[in-house]
Amino acid sequence: MPERDLVKTGIAGVDDILAGGLLRGSVVLVEGTAGTGKTTMGIEFIYRGATEFSEPGLIVLFEVSPDKLVRDAALFGWDLPELERQGRLKIVFTTRQVFQQEVQQADSLLLDEAAAIGARRIFVDGLVRRPPGNGDTGRNTPEAFHLLAEGLQRERLTAMIGVEVAASEGPGASLPEEFIADTVIHLRVEAMERAAQRSIEIVKARGQDYRMGRHSFSIVDGRGIEVYRRVQAPRELAREEAAAYDTSTRVTTGVPGLDEMMNGGYFLGSTTLVVGITGSGKSVMALQYIAEGARRGERSIMLTLDEPRAQVLRNAATIGIDLNPSIDKGLVRLVYDRPQEIEIDRHFLQLEKMVKEFRPRRAVIDSLSTYGSSLGPTGRSFRDFFHAVVALMKEHQVTTLYNHENPELLGMSSVMGPFGVSSLVDNVILLNWVELADTFRQALTIAKMRANAFDRATRECEIVNGQGMRVLPRQIPPDATRRLAFWEYFSLVARSPERHGHRAAG
């Protein structure tokens, strides 16, 4: 099979969703309503070509004046006048009418300009989409567009054409131009509750593979467009297969007593869900897990959405853990992302990048419930996102704890409530309050551990200031308050604890 001549756009993330780039000589329609980022994408396509791939380019404008374009491009750090001085770029202002006539000419002034600098790319900003049947038999007909495409193809230019569509219409309704173009890209700004999110969708790419669906993107000052592949996009099979975890290597939990219950700790690369009501010790367990890794010289990531970094460090200090030295040594990365209006594709891409670059052995996500609040627990979005994170961590053999807040105060009637993803995890640890006499006591139950025999007893645990959490031995002698050990009760997690042979003290 002959090697395809692909033109890399150079726009962050776009070549990924285009499976490598655009076929050389393609005519690409970039469609969207006003403000969706068509001009920025087109300019960046030309800028990256000139600066990163030695492909000079031509920008053709109909409405935006070149000095405004230059000013706006400067916000991204793109010095277009300098490229013009170097003969790697020309910006031409014209009208649609003249442009259509020009590109159809064998000795077109515009195409001569392109040839003069050896242009390989062209961006035409501001063609207006004409729905069929509007009576326009002139220059904006599909026939005229076909001639335009032919003119561009004759010059072997890879062309990006920004097409303005009416807000009432939106991209999506097929037009004849889309049949003529080689590639069609839709840009959108979509309402998300009271926020807005940009998305990009490749709806057609003749002769090449591409990743379907709506991917998120941002326009970032100082950098330009950044596309984040949608987390639900299927992964390569080889990567999925690499995700099987190692059942011979254990990763210690950092919680005294818990490793024994698990016969040595979590399996390397396994996924553990820690479920409990607020204050039941999930974050404490997580901090001890991270601190244990640092003590062993293992790299860890703690991704927190619930508490800012300073608050996590303060909480750690109260249980005798100082994470700062481990952070300074590069063993621990503590990352906080604000949960409000989280852009899940961007968030996942950053996580993926961090995992690939930092190569942690341990990770904590605190907490899944916060993702649920952002994505909605009932739709597929949350489940697909969680599936993608689990696959990512397994592929890189990162042993990961996911905290999840269960709203039930005493016991649990459901592990994940409406989220329904517990089947995706290898291990489930329940942290509960049980009410015995006049006291809430802390209980830990391993509800699930794949491929491992484990202690199924509900065990008491405690959190002590300056020391953290520990799981108490099953047999504990009654203390001064004459508390009985958990084994003397049944139905602790079922919210109706009873002492063997007696009603529970109450």
């Binding site: 070149p66 031409v92 202002f93 003249v98 000419q105 002034l109 515009l110």
Partner: protein, 158 residues
């Protein structure tokens, strides 16, 4: 005209400094006079056409479209084009197959005074002051303001 840098080189620094902080300018202001002389402008249309090309340094337009963009009649625009072309501020390429002409502002020749001129004309007051100065000069010379020249200009197509 712009091709004689020695004529205004001594005062250029002064122009640039003054125009960077300009708030209001009067037609009799020495800065207005300096800028108009440095650019070699004679008519208000010359000024507006030059400003248009400074915003759009490489355009492909028909004569009619160009006239519509700057808001003058074809004859006036043709005369102003001739002035700018003659001064070497502008380069024009014709294509006999289409009505489009390519105009390229030769920025290198003009950049010493072009930016100060643009800054002054960035406000309505500044632009009007220069236009008033140009009209007054035409009156003193006995030619009514806005009266198009009857010279046929090279390459200009009414």
């Amino acid at each position: 005209m712009a091709s004689a840098p020695g004529f205004f080189s001594l005062s250029l620094l002064n122009i640039a400094e003054r125009s960077s902080g300009i708030q209001k300018i009067h037609p009799t202001d020495p800065l207005a006079v300096q800028l108009v002389d440095a650019a070699g402008l004679r008519h208000a249309c010359d000024l507006d056409l030059l400003l248009f090309f400074s915003r759009h340094p490489r355009v492909v337009l028909s004569s009619e479209q160009l006239a519509a963009y700057v808001g003058y009649d074809l004859v006036e625009v043709a005369r102003a084009l001739d002035l700018l072309l003659g001064a070497g501020l502008l380069k024009r390429t014709l294509n006999h197959g289409t009505p489009g002409r390519m105009y390229v502002l030769e920025v290198d020749h003009a950049e010493e005074w072009l930016e100060p001129l643009r800054r002054v004309c960035a406000t309505p007051d500044g632009r009007n002051a220069l236009r008033t100065l140009l009209r007054e000069r035409r009156s003193q010379m006995g030619t009514p303001a806005g009266d198009p020249s009857h010279r046929r200009l090279s390459g200009a197509r009414p």
